[in-house]
């Protein structure tokens, strides 16, 4: 590689710089600045109010509940997705026949549009016409109100999200497993290692980078979960499924409080940055 005049570089760099300035840096700056303003797109008002949006946010019970719900949602889905995904990947790895067919089936929900899947699950959860309670009724069990019971709604959305995204973890982890050197496993088996010892000592350590990749990408995306909540519960019942992304949408496009919504959006940004930083620290610390 050497420095040379290249049109490709000029085009690529111009493209990248202008694109990211326009669709990334500028909106980010406006969002952060906007959080210090009373900004209403309907009245057109935009007046500087300092930290008022933030102090309102801190005292807003809806914010604290959304924050809690966001963490709860992200943690549960990540654990469910990676944990179950690992189990299924290991199970698929251990069988010889029908591996591909089964893998195909597990991956199917991943590629489906979230809007459609959320709608399908909304009907599945319907207490009367839904597939789930229909199934439970066959065993004489009266199913609960999955989405309209405030204590249950969040968990129902979590189950649906894990179901949808599970396959992605399965495929990635399986790819990692298939890359593991077979001779290592055979040697261990000759030494009389049990199946779970092989899993613990050889398989999991060798797919660790893949596991970490899935964890990081999962955490970032689940902190922004929106579509399934928008479609299935609209944050309800009450505020039981309000998450930060939904609160931002609602403040901006239902209450037309762009300033307050910007404060929330900036907060979400900071939270995700901190979490990513911590994750990299932990991984970095372990690898070295």
């Amino acid at each position: 590689m050497k420095k040379e005049r290249s049109y490709i570089v000029i085009i690529a760099v111009t493209l990248m710089c202008s694109f990211y300035l326009l669709f990334f840096v500028y909106p980010l700056v406006v969002s952060i600045l906007g959080s210090f303003f009373d900004w209403n797109p309907l009245s057109g008002s935009q007046s500087f109010i300092g930290l008022d949006n933030y102090s309102r946010m801190i005292s807003d019970p809806l914010f604290s509940e959304s924050l809690y719900n966001t963490f709860y949602f992200a943690i549960c889905v990540v654990i469910g997705r990676v944990g179950l995904g690992l189990l299924i990947a290991l199970a698929l790895y251990s069988i010889k026949r029908y591996q591909e067919v089964l893998r195909t089936m597990y991956f199917l929900p991943v590629i489906m549009p979230m809007v459609s899947v959320a709608l399908v699950w909304e009907w599945m959860y319907d207490p009367r016409i839904g597939l789930i309670n229909m199934f439970l009724a066959a065993f004489g069990v009266v199913g609960p109100n999955w989405l309209t019971d405030a204590g249950l709604a969040m968990n129902s959305v979590i189950i649906m999200t894990v179901w949808k995204d599970l396959g992605y973890a399965v495929i990635i982890l399986m790819a990692g497993l298939l890359n593991v050197d077979n001779s290592q496993i055979e040697a261990a088996q000759i030494d009389g290692a049990k199946y779970w010892q092989v899993v613990r000592k050889i398989l999991i350590p060798s797919i660790k980078p893949t596991l970490i990749f899935v964890l990081i990408t999962s955490v970032i995306s689940y902190f922004q979960a929106f579509t399934q909540i928008f479609i299935m519960t609209e944050g309800g019942p009450g505020s039981s499924t309000h998450v930060l992304a939904y609160l931002i949408y609602n403040s901006a496009f239902k209450n037309f409080e762009f300033g307050y919504a910007s404060a929330l959006a900036t907060t979400l940004f900071v939270i995700i940055m901190i979490i990513t930083f911590i994750q990299f620290k932990i991984i970095g610390g372990r690898d070295e």
Partner: protein, 275 residues
């Protein structure tokens, strides 16, 4: 093999099969339900398969709702955005992988950071910007923000560093080939697997893209499928049969594409995980 392992293998199969059924049953139920009349869907005795199969829902959907138009819009938008996204990813990835220029590493690091910024943080200013430019209710507003894909650039750059041999490029240069010729005829063909993987990703993301088109578009005739689905739920009344049928229309093409290219899907996803 002893008896115990045979039994546990059988249990593993059983668990896997039950799990995989749980993955596909909702879709089968959905498609079966599209052939039911509304009274059967909301009626007192829910069924799994239609008791009197009817294609009325599909007919209503075509005659009363512009489903063909929405479908075309979705195909059009997803194709254009995917095509542009893949091409720019190749171009920028190539520049970052095979050339040296000032601030190259900073640019690359910056692109990695953009992947971590939540889209909700930039949503409101972007919405405002599109309005100021008079671009709302136009497809440009939807296409512009996906001209470049950070993920795509990252993926292509990672692959090209080792996947495209420098000797190949050097040899072509010695033969006097122009740099665009080298890019299009030598570099791009080397990346076919990556291109198909990235195309699949981008296409699926664009196909399911919901919130941004939902906010930006206001003419019903411009809606893509994902947005149009919201049309079926009114203030008070939901036409379940038609909504089921419309939902089926959004997923059936995906299922067909997936089943025909499933090897590529699996490869693509696997590649994204292993660096």
């Amino acid at each position: 093999m002893n008896k115990k392992t045979t039994l546990s293998i059988k249990l593993v199969y059983l668990a896997l099969i039950i799990g995989s059924l749980a993955m596909v049953l909702p879709f089968i139920w959905l498609i079966a339900s599209t052939f039911k009349i509304d009274a059967e869907i909301v009626g007192g005795n829910p069924t799994f398969f239609p008791s009197q199969p009817t294609i009325e829902n599909y007919i209503n959907m075509i005659t009363q709702f512009n489903i063909g138009r929405y479908f075309f819009n979705s195909v059009f938008l997803s194709t254009v955005r995917t095509f542009i996204g893949v091409y720019t990813s190749l171009l920028c990835g190539y520049a970052l992988a095979k050339f040296d220029f000032k601030f190259k590493n900073q640019v690359y690091a910056f692109i990695l950071i953009t992947m971590m910024v939540p889209s909700f943080t930039t949503l409101i200013p972007m919405y405002n910007m599109v309005n100021q430019w008079g671009l709302n209710d136009s497809y440009l507003a939807i296409i512009l923000p996906t001209l470049l894909s950070s993920f795509g650039i990252f993926m292509m750059r990672q692959y090209m560093i080792d996947g495209v041999p420098n000797e190949l490029i050097e040899a072509a240069k010695i033969d006097g080939a122009g740099e665009f010729y080298i890019f299009h005829k030598i570099v791009v063909p080397q990346c076919v697997n990556m291109i198909s993987a990235l195309s699949i990703f981008l296409f699926l993301w664009n196909w399911e893209d919901f919130l941004w088109p939902y906010l930006v578009l206001s003419s019903e005739s411009k809606f893509p499928l994902a947005v149009a689905l919201s049309q079926f739920t009114g203030q008070n009344v939901t036409h379940y049969g038609q909504l089921f049928a419309a939902t089926a229309v959004t997923i059936i093409p995906v299922i067909i594409v997936y089943l025909s290219f499933q090897k590529r899907f699996v490869e693509g996803v696997s590649m994204s995980g292993i660096k």
